[in-house]
Amino acid sequence: MPTDVRDPGSRRARAAWVVVLVTVLTAVVAACGVTRGADEADNRRLRMMIPNSPGGGYDLTGRAAARVMEDDGLTGRFEITNVIGASGTVAMQRLLNEREADDLMLTMGLGVVGAVYTNRSDATVDRATPLARLVEESEGLLVPSDSPFTTVEDFVKAWKADPGSVSIGGGSSPGGPDHLFPMQLAQAVGVDPREVNYVAYDGGGPLTTALLGAKIDVGTSGLGEFEGQIAEGSLRVLAVSGEERLETVDAPTLKESGVDFAFSNWRGVLAPPGISDEQRDALVTLLEEMQDTDAWRDELERNGWTDAFQTGAEFEEFLVSQDARVEDTLKELGLV
């Protein structure tokens, strides 16, 4: 029988429901809140900011690094937050806003350098404190198995003859590594980057679809996500972009194929501006210790990353040169 809420007999039931509601909501809040408390006094608490969503490249790198540092007892617990927005520009802005915060690191990489420019943000990477470069990933030139291109030479020949007719797809938006690679390659072989027909796909999945369905002629991407298709022969790799061949993929480098050009997607760690030299050195030492562990070597192998550890002035120079090169490429494209 229906019971009226205002019926005094159901008042207790009503109170019970309010209690249930409050308990559920509190539990939800507790589950979402960032974990504070339970602090070990002698261990430092650090924060790691990730500029894209869970499961992405920066996320995998940043979380792996934080996990190794925690598990090997190099530091206390890490509080990891994903700050998503504008391909990393939002996170970069937030890092710069936290001036002098000596407990914060941001995992970033080539894509963030480019995104800052394409989003016309002034949160450029040279304003932060560089800590270390961690890993490098080669890009690959992928074609469907029945593509007319069998070597880089075939591709470059067709590309030079009519740049617009060769469609190139990548898994990143303009300014990201999959976009910068073909543009800089175009500059290297003498094709006007503005004539490159680049199609941006939303990550590796849609790009795989387009390649398997031969909707695009060439794909540019890191090769980790394509190992299955490459092994079974539905996709072929014309060349890898790095200085050296990959162990996992049987393909020449660009240089071996007669194109004097090398390109790597890299990821590293920055700290906010304004921290003291001692604070910076402490964080760099921590990362150096992490890089020296077996656990980190396992992570590198598991994820197919190349170790590209670099700190100090070297990394700072590298950042400056990357920044300038990306800006130059994007300027030529009219995107800056």
Partner: protein
Amino acid sequence: MDMLLDGFATALTPINLLYACIGVLLGTSVGVLPGIGPAMTVALLLPVTYNVSPEGALIMFAGIYYGGMYGGSTTSILLNTPGESSSVITAIEGNKMAKAGRAAQALATAAIGSFVAGTIGTVLLVALAPSVADWVVNLGAPSYFAIMLLALVAVTAVLGDSKLRGFISLALGLSIGLVGTSTGQPRLTFGNSLLADGIDIVVVAVAIFAIGEALWVAAHLRRRPLEITPVGRPWMGRADWSRSWRPWLRGTAYGFPFGALPAGGAEMPTFLSYITERRLSKHPEEFGHGAIEGVAGPEAANNASAAGTMVPLLALGLPTTATAAVILASMQSYGLQPGPGLFDNEPELVWGLLASLFVANTLLLVLNLPLAPVWAKLLRTPRPYLYAGILFFASLGAYSVNFQWFDLLVLLAFGLLGLAMRRFALPVLPLIIGVILGPQLEYQLGQALQLSEGDWTTLLSEPVAVVAYVVIALIVLVPLVARLRGGGTDPLEKELDDLEKEVRP
């Protein structure tokens, strides 16, 4: 068949059953909360997999995925606050049912529909995955564009009694869909990089549905007598069953193929299912006031699409949704390479996973069906508390995505829009459809034209596209011809008359 039985042997070991349970529970709870979805949950659990067997981890992830598809419906129905984009459509009829005292029936038809669709979808997956996957990659941007155009034409059926108001609402939705830098140029971002990725459909839906309504109720609290939500019967009656089973099956028929298509997703089939049920229903007058078909169809569709997603994932290593992409990453971290070889190389794992999908589905039903009448009683909470709870819940969900106060501002701004839409009797559905379809339509058109170097004939270059255009032509021309013949009882006209009582406050 033997292999599937072996799969059940794997899935039903106590430890794997435990993982399935954990997955389903986790999935349901993250599905409930707007902002946190199954993709993020699986990604955050990736490190856990290092200490768990591959079977256990994948079984848990599949449970999270299925659970997430179901969990979103509970808050859609009870609180008008969709937890996932795939359950936005469910809120439209589901919450109206709840207000009419039929929350338990809405929850039950959602639970059983999800079970039916998930089970049929999984059967289709087992039957089709090894063979059918190859053709899905042949659909290109022209086909997707045509299918989405078809969906947009179908929107005209839900514009409501006032065409002008319907189109205003649609235009608002399409404008919201423009926000962002997806074309390479910033549009409507006002120089704010927080708007560069556009506005999440879940935030829009929660704001318009839940915040808008809470504000509306607050604005009228003193002027109108308190409406008490009647308490209905706890279980589905015979009429509910007979009105639900066809929508379940039709929803499955929409959901599975869309899930399997690389650019299909779960939103499109829920929307198409809703439109279809509305056209086919024997009780069209109930739509907008809580028609059970409008819950049964879309809820079946979203679960069937989750099953469909597994087809390209397992057979080609092709992730078609964010959740599938993260599941793929976890498989790769075990050194497993999805693709045609997977069924031969890892039969125990694959069939164990498929069997566990059946198990997850059954668990969801067992967990959720008895809870339906219990949840329904939540609505007896006095309205001030209830709406305070809804506001809190919605804000928490919007904030938890990114820990940005800006997102709360967006939520509130769209909440005010929702209030204004109620004030001026603008229907909500066209706006939601505009937000979902607009960006995708533009993206597919742009991509098709870019690949053809600006040649418009490319739009007719794929058979699926041509079929879609023929259907569009029929939808537009048939009523027109009927009217020209002076038949008088134009079916569309009649339907529009029936829809006079459109979603109104």
